[in-house]
């Protein structure tokens, strides 16, 4: 799989065969994931859509998965790369369990492992085209972090990917607080997901919310948000802006 991109006179000479072996662009993509810390742990929300360019092609993709006993992984971006990451993590968790020694991988360890994987792939010009959200609870300590496809990684009380960064995080910055109850947390996430549904063209109205606490992970059944389209601005969109549509 190793190759060189020969540089001649400062112009890159593209090696077509080598290019077919590395990621150039994403094909089937998932849109935003939004996650927050709340009183008992982590809440994460994502829709179930997989877009093929501008077509909303797949509508039953689970973009959040439990990892081991203590972690929850949500992904946006290329779905096949997400599946590859799940295979890496499967092997990681398997080896951890095989030790059978009372030590187990917590969310911090999984997050750092993923950061290493993503960064190393980026360095080889063959990235896994995902932005990952990693949340978990271990020994009472809540953990929520993010890794991007270029290996940028950090922790925070609330994280989002893609459009969620622009639409959801401002809401969370204003309205998130320490010790949110489960109901309040879900309401907050639904508020964010509703805005994303209205404004992100790759969002679909079928979402799941996952809850991670000391007891474990539960991913809800898919459901839809109630939307309202009778805003006067929607019924008469060009009022006050002649010539627009």
């Amino acid at each position: 799989m190793t190759f060189t991109i020969p540089i001649e006179n400062g112009n890159e000479v593209k090696n077509a065969e080598a290019d077919s072996q590395r990621t150039l662009y994403p094909y089937v993509t998932g849109t935003s994931v939004v996650a927050i810390k709340y009183k008992d742990g982590i809440l994460m929300a994502s829709d179930m859509g997989g877009s093929y360019g501008s077509t909303l092609r797949y509508k039953n993709i689970e973009r959040m998965k439990a990892i081991g006993k203590h972690s929850l992984l949500g992904a946006s971006g290329e779905i096949s790369d997400f599946q590859e990451i799940l295979r890496y993590l499967d092997e990681l968790v398997l080896n951890d369990n095989m030790w059978d020694d009372g030590n187990s991988l917590g969310p911090k360890e999984v997050h750092n492992y993923l950061t290493r994987v993503m960064y190393n792939r980026r360095n080889k010009f063959n990235p896994l085209w995902n932005t990952l959200v990693l949340g978990g609870v271990k020994n009472g300590e809540k953990y929520l972090g993010m890794v991007s496809m270029i290996g940028v990684s950090f922790e925070d009380n609330h994280v989002a990917t893609g459009f969620g960064n622009h639409l959801a995080r401002p809401i969370l910055r204003d309205e998130w607080r320490e010790d949110l109850s489960f109901e309040d947390g879900v309401k907050l996430l639904e508020k964010c997901m509703r805005v994303l549904l209205y404004r992100d063209r790759s969002a679909i109205n079928k979402l799941q919310i996952a809850k991670m606490t000391e007891e474990g992970v539960t991913v809800s059944e898919p459901y839809s948000l109630k939307t309202f389209w009778e805003f006067s601005a929607f019924t008469n969109p060009t009022v006050g802006a002649e010539g627009s549509w």
Binding site: W99, D101, G102, N103, L105, G106, E109, N112, Y113, R116
Partner: protein
């Protein structure tokens, strides 16, 4: 142990099912100067006797920090011990880099044991001639392990290896049941007392021993000579009083504390 026709290389079994080269490697451990380890639920103490080639040279380093939460004491071929310590440090650092989390000591000793086993099954290698007392922390608390040249490893509450370690082991066997709940200070005292047992008559001085501690919330660190000397001073007095009583039997355990207290009142502690 006598020379025989099955002891030339490590990959030759004897008819009685022994690998003599491996057993000879374990002999090398017994010849090294003593190393002692003990643990409570939260702390591990490693101690060793300092041996110097001659009066002119400094003593060999036998206790190594592997990470903030893991330390190792060695007995036997110290060169082999140094190489294995470097391997342990490397494993520990690689784990911490990838997972941002300390390597559980139980997993490190398994890597170490597997490495030692390889040398018992290759005709072009020889076993490592060093025994390692590995003390460290993992999620379930403090642990002490002994890694053998044979590739075996065992977990211990307390253990001693090297020359005259049997004397220390006898002392530890009498006391180990109370170690689980011991305070750090008591654990250190027991470690130094165990070292004293291996000296068999030689006066215990702080220059003769090295002591290191690690525990939950306390990174691996060496005790300085002053601290060690202070601990020695607390019981050297008691030892003198005990000899006065003339007791070395079971009754001594009950008799010694009250006798010691009376003795202490006669001699002002400040004068020691």
């Amino acid at each position: 142990m006598f020379r025989n026709q099955y002891d030339t290389d490590v990959t030759t079994w004897s008819p009685t099912g022994r690998l003599f080269q491996v057993e000879y490697a374990m002999e090398a451990v017994k010849q090294g100067s003593a190393a002692i380890g003990l643990r409570s639920r939260t702390h591990v103490v490693l101690a060793c006797v300092n041996k110097a080639q001659s009066e002119l040279s400094s003593h060999q380093r036998k206790i190594f920090k592997v990470d903030d939460h893991i330390g190792v004491a060695i007995a036997g071929l110290t060169a082999d011990g140094r190489v294995l310590s470097r391997y342990m440090r490397s494993e520990s650092i690689n784990h911490a880099f990838t997972y941002e989390s300390p390597l559980p000591v139980g997993r490190l000793v398994v890597h170490l044991a597997d490495k030692a086993q390889v040398c018992t099954q290759r005709s072009w290698k020889r076993p490592y001639g060093v025994g390692l007392l590995v003390g460290g922390l993992d999620e379930s608390g403090a642990h002490l392990y002994y890694n053998c040249p044979s590739g075996n490893y065992f977990e211990y509450q307390a253990f001693a290896i090297g020359s005259r370690s049997q004397a220390a082991k006898t002392y530890l066997e009498r006391r180990f049941e109370s170690f689980g709940d011991s305070s750090k200070e008591d654990l250190i005292k027991d470690a130094i007392l165990a070292v004293r047992e291996t000296l068999q008559g030689e006066t215990l001085k702080s220059s003769l021993c090295t002591v290191a501690v690690l525990g939950v919330g306390e990174p691996f660190n060496f005790l300085d000579q002053e601290t060690i000397q202070k601990v020695i001073d607390t019981f050297e007095k008691v030892a003198e009083e005990e000899e006065g009583e003339g007791g070395e039997g079971e009754a001594e355990a009950a008799a010694a504390p009250p006798a010691a207290e009376q003795g202490d009142q006669d001699v002002a502690p400040m004068e020691m």
